[in-house]
């Protein structure tokens, strides 16, 4: 047994997570691509798989009808796509604006306080996201806590409409995704050597100048990592806009949901999802490619 681990220990450590990813990430993704090239039908499952193998042998009959449909009715999908990207973009931006000072403060406090603050940052993850959204509704409602206080304080006479606005969606998005922005920012800021900042001050740089020329450039990896972690799930977000947004807030997540569950058109839903993934991944791949070019 001991010999076994000595011989294959390294392989196990590498292959086990890889097998996990293959099984539960790669295979579903491949299946989704498969569905997106399949023909819809009224049956269970509601499609005729493009690729299948079974007792009747292997058959491969892909159809591009689903993609063609999206192409034909592109105007119907363009607005939800633009809307999704807009909401995800501003959610990422607001997360960054809130997270940066917090991450900086955590990274610059003493070690024991850092641990406590990081646990506090992660604390929201311990309750269900859905519960937190309902709590937010309770706060933002026309007869909710915040309006009660504003009316009591005499700031307003009639309740301010906060629910079903962009504001409520961004509040929900920032509340949900803030930790995903804080953690990578913290990780890059905590590695920043204090004497580098002192060296800049010693060489005549003022506070804002130091931030612009030293701290910001050195935290770019953290900004990129945090932005990806927030932007990617935010583009496909379905629950938050559905609960907090108005009915006119049509997002891609909602469109996919409608195709799947209302129309029972799995192939078209899959095709939209694949297009969404492509829209997100291609810029990242391009950016990485550019990065590599720059180094060599």
């Amino acid at each position: 047994m001991n010999y076994f681990f000595q011989r294959f220990g390294r392989q196990i450590v590498i292959w086990l997570p890889l097998a996990w990813l293959l099984l539960f990430f790669m295979l579903p993704l491949i299946e989704m691509i498969n569905v997106s090239f399949s023909e819809a039908r009224r049956a269970v499952p509601p499609y005729n798989p493009a690729f299948q193998f079974g007792p009747g042998g292997i058959s491969f009959q892909p159809v591009v009808d689903n993609y063609y449909l999206i192409y034909e009715y592109w105007e119907d999908y363009l607005w939800p796509a633009v809307n999704s990207i807009r909401l995800a973009f501003f959610s990422t931006l607001y997360c960054l604006l809130f997270a940066y000072p917090m991450a900086w403060w955590i990274a610059r406090s003493n070690k024991s306080l850092q641990h406590i603050l990081l646990i506090l940052v992660l604390m929201p993850f311990w309750t269900s996201s859905l519960l937190r959204m309902y709590a937010l509704i309770g706060l933002l409602n026309p007869n909710g806590f915040i309006n009660d206080i504003l009316i009591w304080a005499g700031v307003t006479v009639i309740p301010i409409q906060m629910m079903q606005t962009d504001f409520s969606i961004y509040a929900g998005m920032v509340l949900t995704y803030l930790p995903l922005m804080i953690l990578p920012l913290y990780a890059s800021l905590v590695r920043l050597d204090g004497s580098i900042i002192e060296a800049a001050a010693d060489l005549g740089a003022r506070k804002w100048d130091i931030f612009k020329t030293i701290i910001l450039p050195l935290s770019i990896p953290g900004i990129i990592a945090g932005s990806l972690l927030v932007f990617i799930p935010a583009v496909g977000e379905f629950v938050i806009p559905a609960l907090l947004g108005g009915p006119e807030q049509l997002m891609l997540g909602k469109v996919i949901w409608t195709e799947f569950f209302r129309n029972r058109d799995w192939p078209v839903a899959s095709a939209i999802a694949i297009i969404l993934i492509a829209i997100i991944i291609l810029p990242i791949v391009y950016a990485r490619y550019q990065d590599k070019e720059g180094i060599s």
């Binding site: 050597d193 004497s195 002192e198 060296a199 001050a201 010693d202 005549g204 100048d209």
Partner: protein, 357 residues
């Protein structure tokens, strides 16, 4: 002549702990001054006060007659070279060195020519586009030095400038720092825990311990005439002998340690006074036979270490007196034979340093 740098009664407390305790000294323009002391003695805190990163509780710091107390680090005519260089990792060598100059109103062409000059000075011409991570330790150190010198400070602070370099590179760099300092005439304060570094670099040394400046003098004074046993022990190797003053014999004092020892000293002692005698290893000779010297006794050789240019011995004499001694290999001597188990040590009355017990 008014001092160029004047440091008066500077103290810094963290709670009850005195990091810097009432330190005062003056420097003339162009001095290369070392603050020497063990880690935690307050030398780095003092340096950070001079750079403006820490605020002292009491005292004043003047450069060329200007008080620096309320001057922001960015505005002080003082620059610092950090122990681990603190180079900006995302900037090229050129941008690192020009960082301070780009914060002034100097025109671009002037900045460019100044950086070229500095690169030449630290022998890094042609490296201006390299990133710090592609440089060796010695090259990084030179970039840091050039960057700190770029604004032509009146006072340059160097925090353990050689600590991160290996031994061979260290001695080369030492001389280089001296050369650059002489060339520019800038006043340098070097903080170091390495007594050898302090001795070779500086025109004067200030020895610090527990926040206090204990002794200030030229390297020779610090080495040959230490005023306390701490300084004697910290700077170089030394052996101590506890002794009592016996009598005054014209030119010499007779002192009773484990053996009677004759000491030549200008100071006055009271008979019966307890003193500490200190002896540098190179002032003691080891011979296989007695030489008839005034201070001489027989010792057993405990062990020895070969240093190439010489050998260091540890010997034990009467009543367990332990001495360290160093024999240069400049002449062949039987006493240097590793077979030797016992021998005689002798030293002149002038070689002995008398310290308060």
């Amino acid at each position: 002549m008014a001092p160029f740098i004047s440091i008066k009664n500077i103290s810094k407390k963290y709670g009850n702990f005195s990091a810097v305790d009432n330190v005062s000294f003056n420097l003339q323009k162009g001095e290369l001054f070392s603050l020497l002391g063990p880690s935690g003695c307050g030398k780095t805190t003092l340096l950070r006060i001079l750079a403006g990163f820490e605020v002292s509780n009491t005292g004043s710091f003047e450069i060329d007659g200007h008080d620096m107390d309320n001057v922001d680090p960015a505005d002080r005519p003082v620059n610092i070279m950090f122990q681990h260089y603190a180079l900006f990792p995302h900037m090229s060598v050129f941008n690192n060195i020009s960082y301070g100059l780009r914060r002034t109103s100097l025109p671009k062409s002037e900045i460019k020519s100044r950086v070229e000059e500095l690169l030449e000075l630290v022998r890094l011409s042609g490296m201006s586009e390299r990133k710090p991570k592609t440089l060796s330790g010695g090259q990084k150190q030179r970039v840091a030095l050039a960057r700190a010198l770029a604004r032509r400070p009146k006072l340059l602070l160097l925090d353990e400038p050689l600590a991160a370099l290996d031994k061979k590179l260290r001695s080369d760099t030492q001389f280089e720092i001296c050369k650059i300092q002489e060339q520019l005439g800038t006043t340098f304060i070097v903080v170091t825990h390495d007594q050898e570094e302090a001795m070779t670099l500086s025109t004067r040394i200030g020895v610090m311990n527990e926040g206090k400046l204990i002794q200030l003098g030229t390297p020779k004074e610090i080495y040959e005439q230490p005023q306390t046993s701490f300084v004697a022990d910290f700077v170089g190797e030394i052996s101590f002998l506890e002794a009592v003053v016996k009598e005054n014999k014209n030119t010499h004092w007779l002192m009773q340690a484990a053996v009677p020892i004759y000491v030549s000293s200008d100071s006055n002692f009271n008979v019966g006074q307890k003193v500490k005698l200190a002896l540098r290893p190179e002032k003691i000779s080891l011979t296989s036979r007695p030489t008839g010297n005034i201070n001489e006794f027989k010792v057993d050789i405990l062990d020895f270490a070969f240093y190439g240019a010489g050998t260091q011995y540890r010997v034990i004499g009467p009543e367990g007196v332990k001495l360290k001694l160093y024999q240069s290999h400049n002449q062949p001597s039987k006493a240097n034979s590793p077979m030797l188990k016992t021998g005689f040590v002798n030293f002149s009355p002038e070689a002995i340093i008398v310290l308060e017990s």
